[in-house]
């Protein structure tokens, strides 16, 4: 009996080759977040490690919006991924960025919890300004000659953190999400689990709060 391969039509073998190439391409493609989540849920440790590698920079960037010290940021990265790991079952995949949005929600909430914890434990002594910093602020805010030209003012992150830590955690979270992340009110409401009315009210109060803090230095 002759082997099957000898009888195959050259056209058919060409189709097979193309099919194999497509399969190889698919295999070499990066798995989607949804696939990685499904694998991680099934206990695939490597899949979770890949999710971590893919999204750690995003989490780090978000954490730096709220905290200035690297150790704090590392703690937030750890806490966020641990929370995400144990909440994987509650993740419902959808469009491509869905996992990223889900993870950023967890990260923002972790930052918010940490802000509240820090405030509760009165660790906000870092809020005390040095004389130089107070003088610098006074100069900048009193300077009327430049018609209030404060854009691009060389504000150190340390000084900024000291001033912002005087805000209530919820006010700081809302301002950060609104002004830095440029999220809409409904988006913030979804992330924080608040109503849109509460977000609007909070942002209004936060703005007032920040003005009050700055006025003290005029």
């Amino acid at each position: 009996m002759e082997p099957m391969a000898d009888k195959t039509d050259p056209g058919v073998s060409g189709v097979n080759q193309v099919q194999n190439q497509i399969q190889n391409l698919i295999q070499n493609m990066d798995p989607t977040d949804a696939e990685l989540v499904a694998a991680a849920r099934a206990g695939d440790e490597a899949a979770f490690a890949r999710l971590f590698e893919k999204h750690k920079s995003m989490v780090s960037r978000l954490a730096y919006r709220f905290f200035s010290r690297r150790e704090q940021v590392e703690d937030i990265i750890q806490d966020s991924f641990i929370k995400a790991y144990f909440a994987l079952d509650s993740y419902q995949g959808g469009h491509d960025n869905s996992f990223m949005a889900w993870l950023s929600r967890i990260t923002v909430r972790t930052c918010y919890d940490e802000l509240r914890r820090v405030r509760r434990r009165s660790e906000s002594n870092i809020g005390d300004l040095t004389e130089d910093e107070a003088a610098y602020l006074n100069d900048k805010l009193r300077d009327t000659s430049k018609e209030g030209n404060v854009e691009g003012a060389a504000i150190s992150r340390d000084l900024s953190n000291k001033l912002l830590s005087r805000l209530r955690p919820e006010d700081r979270a809302v301002l950060t999400l609104l002004k830095l992340e440029e999220l809409s009110v409904p988006e913030i409401a979804e992330i924080m689990g608040w109503s849109t009315a509460k977000v609007k009210m909070r942002s209004h109060r936060a703005q007032h709060g920040l003005r009050r803090i700055l006025r003290k230095f005029i």
């Binding site: 730096y64 990265i77 900048k140 404060v150 912002l164 703005q207 003005r211 700055l214």
Partner: protein
């Protein structure tokens, strides 16, 4: 009027300064990647996940032990309850058959058949009992 305008300008300036403060919190890409690529960061996450899983497993085991203990106790308790009910029912059937008398021929007093004694009868019986005691004492001497 002038004051209101000044306050308005002040607020604007303060708001812009506030935004500058928020923007000052932005980290550079180098800082972001340094924190994200910190050595052993993933290892630390894995260790904490494993610790948490162990803690949850221990907690689950404690509940499991408690529930399995209760599960074993249920048949035992049911058997004891069945035996008790059986004994009570068997006794009441026997009382009904013996016409209110026990094996030695003694009268079984069932709650419903308790004779209703008046207070006078109670005193009379007590006095009679005391007299009998005194008489017995005299006889002994």
């Amino acid at each position: 009027m002038w004051n209101r305008k000044k306050t308005h300008i002040d607020n604007e300036k303060l708001d812009r300064f506030g935004e500058e403060l928020l923007h000052a919190m932005e980290a550079t890409s180098h800082e972001i990647s340094t924190a994200a690529n910190s050595p052993f960061l993933y290892r630390r996450i894995r260790v904490r996940i494993e610790e948490e899983e162990r803690r949850r497993a221990t907690e689950r085991n404690q509940w499991f032990v408690l529930l399995s203990g209760v599960k074993h106790a249920i048949p035992v308790l049911t058997t004891i309850a069945a035996i008790t009910i059986g004994i009570v029912m068997f006794d009441s059937v026997q009382v009904g058959q013996s016409g209110g008398r026990n094996a030695n021929g003694g009268l079984i007093i069932v709650n419903d058949e308790l004779p209703a004694l008046s207070s006078d009868e109670m005193i009379a019986s007590f006095v009679g009992w005391q007299d009998a005691q005194q008489n017995q004492g005299r006889d002994d001497r």
